[in-house]
């Protein structure tokens, strides 16, 4: 049997206590222990960004943290960010611009884009492309995603 530890953390605003195998990574914990399947697994080596979640305010790779490392942390997934409304402008822009097709990269893209706009409210296209350069999309070719993010920068108020 794997070693296991108790962890207590906040996920999408709710306190969570669980006993977890120490080698269980954060995204697998969120997906299979908590049923928050909006974060996705694409590579398990940190290269594709599908597993992106927010830990203590930073976007991180959920496949490169063990769940035990998130003890005492504040974690937000795409579900939480969607429900609390903080990414609504981005979601609307993505929808309008058809900046998603299969949707698998989309949660990671949205969280990454939100983090960009939080630190740089008016990035140019080159900056936007650089900011999402760690998120693999195989369907859109990226342009619609860049367009959608750019739309939000020009719009009258971001939510955050």
């Amino acid at each position: 049997m794997d070693d296991a530890l108790d962890i207590t953390l906040t996920v999408n605003g709710m306190p969570v206590t669980r006993r977890v195998p120490v080698r269980l990574n954060l995204v697998d914990f969120l997906r299979h222990e908590l049923g928050l399947t909006g974060s996705h697994v694409g590579c398990e080596h940190g290269a594709c960004g599908a597993c992106s979640v927010v830990v203590d305010g930073d976007v991180v790779r959920g496949c490169l943290m063990f769940a035990v490392q998130a003890d005492r942390a504040v974690v937000e997934t795409i579900e939480g960010a969607s429900e609390n409304g903080r990414i609504k402008s981005l979601q609307d822009a993505f929808h309008d611009r058809a900046a998603l097709q299969c949707g698998f990269c989309t949660p990671g893209m949205l969280l990454t884009a939100a983090a960009l706009l939080a630190r740089d409210p008016s990035p140019d296209r080159k900056t936007i492309r650089g900011a999402i350069s760690g998120n693999l999309c195989r369907c859109t070719g990226y342009q619609a995603i860049v367009d959608a993010i750019e739309t939000v920068t020009k719009s009258v108020g971001n939510d955050d």
Binding site: D2, N25, R61
Partner: protein
């Protein structure tokens, strides 16, 4: 790809870490940012019996100026190094290297010390350490020692840090009136470099001296091109090109040949020379 089983210990103090290292030695790995270690564990290429999580050792995370040195704690996150005004002012070479290190999400967790301790041949930070004459501070239960960067990087993923030591900080001498040059060639933004050059020199009048030309991604460790440095110190760009042939023995891999790496190194050298000679830009 799920990591193999391991024991997990959360370190609450530096002493606890050093004790654990003394006990477990090579059976243990330090978990800092995890951005390099965890992929290797998921791929089952790294299999520590014990993982020592140092993320709560806040005393190791600072970036500060001490007299004539910039001290970067091992746990300083890449994003903090990127945004640090002290790094920008006192080690612009590192500040210029940071945007090339992976991507935002990786930089949010990855640590300065972790990158230096890993010593990936194509990584930016070991090369910067070498170019800046950094001193690497190691601690063990037996005590503390500093190793000059020039003696620290021994090969691919191999450093002078022993199994019972932890890298706790990197000390970078602050030098006035220096110029630096950083460039890397990679296929995509954030990739490891196919070849890169981290370089620094002192400028007195219009003469360059104390030149450090550190190529990375070219051999199995960051490499100071010493003959090339000597030629440049004499102001002889043509001799520097020739000397580079002697200094370099580039590696081969399935996608990029040693010949290509050799070509890249020459291009990077030329770009550095064009930036510095006849007139350099003063950093400090």
């Amino acid at each position: 790809m799920k990591a193999p089983p391991f024991q997990y210990r959360r370190m609450e103090t530096l002493d606890e870490l050093l004790r654990a290292l003394a006990v477990h030695g090579e059976a243990a790995s330090i978990l800092a940012g995890g951005q390099s270690l965890v992929p290797l564990m998921n791929l089952r290429m790294a299999r520590p019996d014990v993982l020592l999580d140092i993320n709560r050792l806040n005393e190791l995370s600072g970036i500060r100026v001490e007299d004539d040195r910039l001290v970067i704690g091992t746990l300083a996150r890449h994003v903090d190094v990127l945004n640090s005004p002290d790094v920008r002012r006192h080690a612009p070479l590192i500040a210029n290297a940071m945007p090339h290190v992976a991507h935002d999400a990786i930089r949010n967790r990855g640590t300065f010390g972790g990158s230096v301790a890993l010593a990936d041949p194509a990584a930016e930070l070991p090369a910067c350490c070498l170019a800046l004459d950094a001193e690497i501070e190691l601690r063990s239960q037996a005590g503390a020692r500093t190793v000059p960067a020039t003696d620290f990087f021994l090969g691919a993923y191999e450093t002078a840090c022993t199994d019972t030591e932890a890298l706790v900080a990197v000390h970078i001498p602050i030098k006035k009136e220096t110029v630096s040059f950083f460039e890397e060639l990679s296929r995509r933004r954030g990739d490891y470099a196919l070849a890169g050059l981290a370089a620094r020199a002192s400028i007195i009048g219009s003469r360059l001296s104390d030149i450090r030309l550190v190529f990375f991604g070219v051999e199995d460790r960051p490499l100071r091109a010493k003959a090339t440095e000597a030629a440049l110190e004499k102001g002889d760009a043509a001799a520097a090109e020739a000397a580079l042939e002697v200094d370099l023995d580039p590696i081969n891999d399935p996608q990029t040949s040693s010949a290509a790496r050799r070509q890249f190194s020459h291009v990077l050298l030329r770009r550095a020379v064009d930036t510095w000679l006849p007139k350099g830009t003063i950093d400090g």
